[in-house]
Amino acid sequence: MASVFTHEFNTPAYKGKTSFNTGLYIDGKFVEGSDKTTIDVVNPATGKVVTKVAEATVKDVDIAVAAAHKAFETTWGLNMGGAGRSKLLAKLAQLMEEHQQELAALEALDNGKTFTWAMDLDTTFAIDTIRYYAGWADKIHGQVQETDEKKLSYTRHEPIGVVGQIIPWNFPLLMMSWKLGPALATGNCIVMKPSEFTPLTAIRMCELIHEAGFPPGTFNLLTGYGQTVGAAISGHMKIDKVAFTGSTLVGRKIMEAAAKSNLKDITLELGGKSPNIIFDDADLDQAVNWAAHGIYWNHGQACCAGSRIFVQSGIYDEFLSKFTEKTRSLKVGDPFDVDSYQGPQVSKVQYDRIMDYIQSGKDQGATVHLGGDRNGTEGFYINPTIFTDTTPDMKIVQEEIFGPVGVVIKFEDEEDVIRQANDTVFGLAAAVFSQNINRALNTAHRLKAGTAWVNCVNQLHSNVPFGGFKQSGIGRELGEYALHNYTAIKSVQVNLGHVM
């Protein structure tokens, strides 16, 4: 019998209770893992274990895939029309809304982000994403193509089948909604692996998915490790597509496994080292605020973080001064304090990685302009950090740190800064600040990135596509574009008179 996690939140930001089954969710039931092993869930604010959840093994992947296929052939796939899928997704969104505070609290407990951010952004955006895709479910259109009057030629946009989805720990619930929404809206069945670091909200969602009325097997959740469950999903012969958000390193492994197994379709949302270019003619105060949001949002744990901040020389000193003051004002504290801006990093592993990068910056001769150290003595807290006096070849300039560490770089020449901005294997996002519309748009158009922000950073909407150029990924999520990730195009050609 799988166990139950019960927790009482008694904090300034939130008071409430949660209690839910922590088993794997397969074929509409909560079960233990095949090996009956568990994974510890750690609260990064304290470093202590809060509960254990069931661990899935490779065997459980097979069981889940079989259940998903059965559902696809009988109760889901093309057996459930778009209007039906729409209704269930809308119901799920409604249930998420009813439990929004509980979900936000679980997210803050598990991930370390503040309850306020989890409420105002993560859960709100996740609900909106599910609602948005509920609206697409009955609008999956193909085309009729004109060939000649003796033939009827048309396309069907069919669901792919059973899709594997592997999501990261930085925005657990939000990433779940970005994957679940379009896949279910188009009629696929899902085998999902949440991050072993942050499984709680995904597990809690299973009860809501069940209550909403999704048929057993349409959605299956396997909490497990990347090297076991993640690898099994990407190499599975009976999974027809895998979608992954995470590091570029792991993204490669997934693409390799897909190639070596059954050439399954892949979409990848990977890392970034996104440039934020601030010209002399920017609105300086706004640029400062946005730049801070660009790197410190979610404790720097965002794939699209504007981590390389290029500032034109004319405003460099003033920018740095104001940006430092702004950064200093960001309060690092307990996720459940109402005035905390930034909580702990998600895990010890991440904490160590970031501190290593900070050390490498110091070793390679960069200046620690602000921060660069731990905050407090308990939990994985790092002070917002600013590096200056860097050179392009430094690790902190080239590699993705994934922490609250910004690099501020002075530039002179417009051509040169665009070259520097594009001189990276990544291409997820970029931002440009200028009040000159021609300069702003021309720069945005020349930046090799999947999202180019003009006078803003880190803004996302459920109907605007998001994804990477180059090694930042393959494919686009959100918007109508995400539907393409989960549909197989079939051309039907009906002969009505050609004689052979």
């Binding site: 778009g82 209007a83 729409s86 209704k87 809308a90 909106d128 609602r131 948005y132 509920a134 609206g135 697409w136 479910a137 009955d138 609008k139 009057e149 009827l152 748009l441 158009h445 459920s462 109907n463 109508e480 009906v494 009505l496 008179g497």
Partner: protein, 490 residues
């Protein structure tokens, strides 16, 4: 200041209350300058059930001003797609909550059976609102490559503005939803004039508009005579678009008024004299069932009613037999009676019109193979009537009166079908796929049904064959598995 009436429902021993003022700016108000009222009848009993305020052309001015203000301040470009979606979904939820009572009110005023009103009319209306709610945050334009150095070109799909909407009496709630949903989804504001024969459910739905949380002025409801309120809307210089469903005669007047005033955009859903073709390879049992549905559904008061059926010579006699025995099963009666499949005609005027056609048909020598006899009871009941050997009557009857003709060849069938100024719907029954494809391509109608009839979906376009820009959109519904049982089991 508004008044509420309580309308008794004798069959169910209850009362339904309805606000009877003009619904403007989220309030029910009296007319600014008129004391006229509109009397609403129950077509099954011929009794008056309620009186509502009749709007004057000055009231239309007030409503249009309210809609314009809302468009400039709280709606139009001032509201996000997400918010429009949220409100529309909320409205759909409320209609679902109140569907039983709304159905009973619809039956009282329109006559159709309660179960049909609830499960079909209102069921479809809820789905329609939800469908368009899903579009509200997906109104996209395009970026267009001109040259990549000096220009950035893109399109925005912006709301038109204040829309006048005039709806008919045959599907009061359903037509309300079809008009309101897409207009709201894209951000337009509305002045709705429901039919003067059936204004009650539009008023009741207006109460739900308030409860859902729409800002004042987004939807306004002004019951009024067509010649007063309808004409005022069509000619109004501050209405940006008029959408009308009703008779072709009135449609012309509206288009004229639009042309003479401010060249407002016009969309019209008008009449039809839709044909069904029965080919010799057809499954005759099924074809008969669909033909029965085509003429009996909503007691023939449907713009796409399949009122002309042409049967291939070789199966003519057999088909007539099957058709008559199928249509015979149709029960026309009081909408509150559970056994009723179809209600009375909507009004005395329609009743007299339909009987006029039946009498004329008999006088011209057409053969009556079913019906054609008056009842001796109260209520505007007309039993299904089938004429054969008809000399191609081309007038729209809008009642359960079917004309049957015959043809030899496919070419003849298509010519007979297309020999009309109308082009709303058409149906064909055949198991020869190539024939289905050929004939559906040749039929000049906005919707062609293959081995089916009358079944629509919210996500499939519907309209008459008329020139919009440079292409005409034809929707083809090709049935590949649904079997129909007539009468419908409700």
């Amino acid at each position: 200041m508004s008044s509420t009436v309580k309308i008794p429902v004798p069959a169910l021993n209850k009362e339904i209350s309805v606000s009877t003022g003009l619904f403007i700016n989220n309030e029910f108000v009296p007319s600014v300058d008129s004391a006229e009222v509109i009397q609403c009848f129950n077509p099954a009993t011929e009794q008056v059930i309620a009186s509502v305020v009749a709007g004057s052309s000055k009231d239309i001015d007030v409503a249009v001003a309210a809609a314009r203000l809302a468009f400039k301040t709280t709606w139009g470009k001032n509201v996000t797609g997400w918010e429009r979606s949220r409100l529309m979904n909320k409205l759909a939820d409320l209609i679902e909550r109140d569907k039983q009572e709304l159905a009973e009110l619809e039956t009282l005023n329109n006559g159709k059976p309660v179960a049909v009103a609830r499960d079909f009319d209102i069921g479809d209306s809820i789905q329609c609102l939800r469908y368009y709610a899903g579009w509200a945050d997906k109104i996209t334009g395009q970026t267009i490559e001109v040259d990549n150095k000096s220009k950035m070109a893109f399109t925005r799909h912006e709301p038109i503005g204040v829309c006048g909407q005039i709806i008919p009496w045959n599907y009061p709630i359903n037509m309300w939803a079809w008009k309101v949903a897409p207009a709201l989804a894209v951000g337009c504001t509305i002045v709705m004039k429901p039919s003067e024969i059936t204004p009650l459910t539009a008023l009741k739905l207006s109460e739900l508009v308030v409860e859902a949380g729409f800002p004042p002025g987004v939807i306004n409801t002004v019951p009024s005579l067509g010649s007063v309120g309808g004409a005022a809307l069509a000619a109004h210089n501050d209405v940006d678009k008029i959408a009308f469903t009703g008779s072709t005669i009135t449609g012309r007047k509206i288009m004229e008024a639009a042309a003479k005033s401010n060249l407002k955009k016009v969309s019209l859903e008008l009449g039809g004299k839709s044909p069904q073709l029965i080919f010799e390879s057809a499954d005759l049992q099924q074809a008969a069932a669909w033909a029965a549905l085509g003429i009996c559904y909503n007691t023939g008061q449907d713009c796409t009613a399949g009122s002309r059926v042409y049967v291939q010579d070789s199966v003519y006699d057999k088909f007539i037999d099957v058709l008559v025995s199928t249509v015979k099963e149709t029960v026309i009666g009081d909408g509150f009676d559970n056994n009723t499949g179809g209600g009375p005609l909507i009004s005395k005027a329609q009743f007299d019109r339909v009987w006029g056609y039946i009498d004329a048909g008999k006088a011209e020598g057409a053969k009556v193979v079913l019906g054609g006899e008056r009842r001796n009871t109260k209520g505007y009941f007309v039993d299904p009537t089938i004429f054969t050997d008809v000399d191609s009557s081309m007038k729209i009857i809008f009642g359960p009166v079917l004309s049957i003709g015959r043809f030899k060849t496919e070419e003849e069938a298509v010519a007979l079908a297309n020999n009309t100024t109308y082009g709303l719907g058409a149906g064909l029954h055949s198991t020869d796929a190539s024939q289905c494809m050929r004939v559906s391509g040749l039929l000049e109608a906005g919707t062609v049904w293959v081995n089916q009839y009358n079944i629509l979906s919210n996500n499939v376009p519907f309209g008459g064959k008329s020139n919009q820009e440079y292409t005409s959109v034809k929707a083809v519904h090709w049935n590949i598995g649904e079997k129909l049982q007539w009468p419908l089991s409700l």
